[in-house]
Amino acid sequence: MNDDLTKLTLIGTLEALEKNEFSKEELNHAYLGRIKELNPKLNTFLNVQESSNGIPAAIKDIICTQNIVTTAGSKILSNFLPPYNATVVEKLLSQGISVIGKTNLDEFAMGSSGENSAYGATKNPWDLEKVPGGSSSGSAAAVAADLCTFALGTDTGGSIRQPASLCGVVGLKPSYGRVSRYGSIAMASSLDQVGPITKSVADARQVLEWISGPDGYDSNCVQNGFTIKDLRFKNNLNGLRVGMPKEYFGKGLDSGVEKVIREAIKKLEDLGAEIIEVSLPHTEYAVAVYYIIMSSEVSSNLARFDGIRFGSGREDFGAEAKRRIMLGTFALSTGYYDDYFAKAAKVRTLIKQDFEEAFEKCDVIVGPVSPTVAWNLGEKTADPLTMYLSDAYTIPASLAGIPGLSVPCGFSDGLPVGLQILGKYMDEETILNVGEVYEQNTECHLRKPNIEGLEGVGGLGNE
């Protein structure tokens, strides 16, 4: 019985509560019991709220929760008690949601594997020796392991979509400006977005409706609340034009992942969509542009951590945070600004234009989320550049500000693969609709990891 409760999607949970099939107490009891049993193996939660009494959601620990410690995965904020809730948290509370726990992440959301957390790495529920992806590592792993009805993450260069892909769950990065970031600790302000990680596409749609819209505290989020409408595509995709960018199927893409993605695209075609080859010619420069712009904004945002108003001293930043602060400070410094920051901001324009031109020919763009499935813990930690390149397919959409969805679409070497569906600016409706039709006509999302049967590699080591 208890396990059945935790397997339900958010929509399924809402329907069951409506019909009084179980109470919220039973629901929370079931999830808390499962967290107690599995969190020691997975290290998904940094703290658990035993008092949770609403619909239990897991919140990435970079999103402020009033009087619940919020660490951002950093030693600097190990005792930080936010005096207010982030807007997204307030919006969820008003819907009867409660915070069941705060999830582990790469420090200040900087990483692609979860290994940059000051509180030890999160493990992938499909294989405890693999990374869950990052930086919303704990949120994706908690949804995959049925430790919450849904979770919130943040995405700056892929931090919702990539861990969702590596953990076999749904992840949505909304359009830039769709969701208020007030109370979400800033990493790179021209890129950051908060979004849902869920068990189904319909769940992501519901959560987006709940959390989107302006609050007067995020000047880039002004007028664009998302409202659920009737689906345009019901049981087929007749009339949908799907763009396939040739640059997302080149060097670096693992052949096992490529096979699964091509089969998923074939499925879209079988469902009635027209597949059109498109080109995003500046894709190869996206990682370089991103690392200059993101690091520059990081160096500015993280300057507030001076140990005076909150947190400890700057010596407590981890290695990746220090690296990005250094890179960003350099890129903005006198004599180098034009060669680095200004140049990157211009190439960013070209990347945005690539999408605008491609979307003249198609309604959505599809491809892989990640060039590989989940890799071994420790495999890429010694080489920052290799780690950065694992975000090559998620970064371009972040730079362009457009929405992106990761939907489970199969397995390679027994590990999940996610299909990325990108949409026009502020057109989450179409990508969610396409994701939902795909999900309803496929079965891979029904497979669950067998965590109880997995053996870990031992203690939760800090890097």
């Binding site: 990682v287 370089a288 200059i292 108003r309 200004a342 190439v347 500000g401």
Partner: protein
Amino acid sequence: MRLIGDQVKKVAKLANLPLSEEEIVKSSEQLSKILDYVDQLSNVDIKNIEPIFNVVGSSNVMSDDTPRVSLSQDEALKNASQKKNGFFITKGVFEE
């Protein structure tokens, strides 16, 4: 682009980042490698291209100058490591 030890020290000072000698050496290597990678941007023709700093296009958004509820003094001071008489304690500005 190679960054040598002295340049790294200068950047660390600008960033107010206390780095150990070991971290300086490691930073020189890793930052140089990343900057080498970033140098490929020189291959892009950016003549007459306007930069993007914000995809929404907003800049210098002003709010109305009207008072609204904010944190109480107690709440604002709650997370400070050092405080005195209802104020934050900071380093002296005019001291060396």
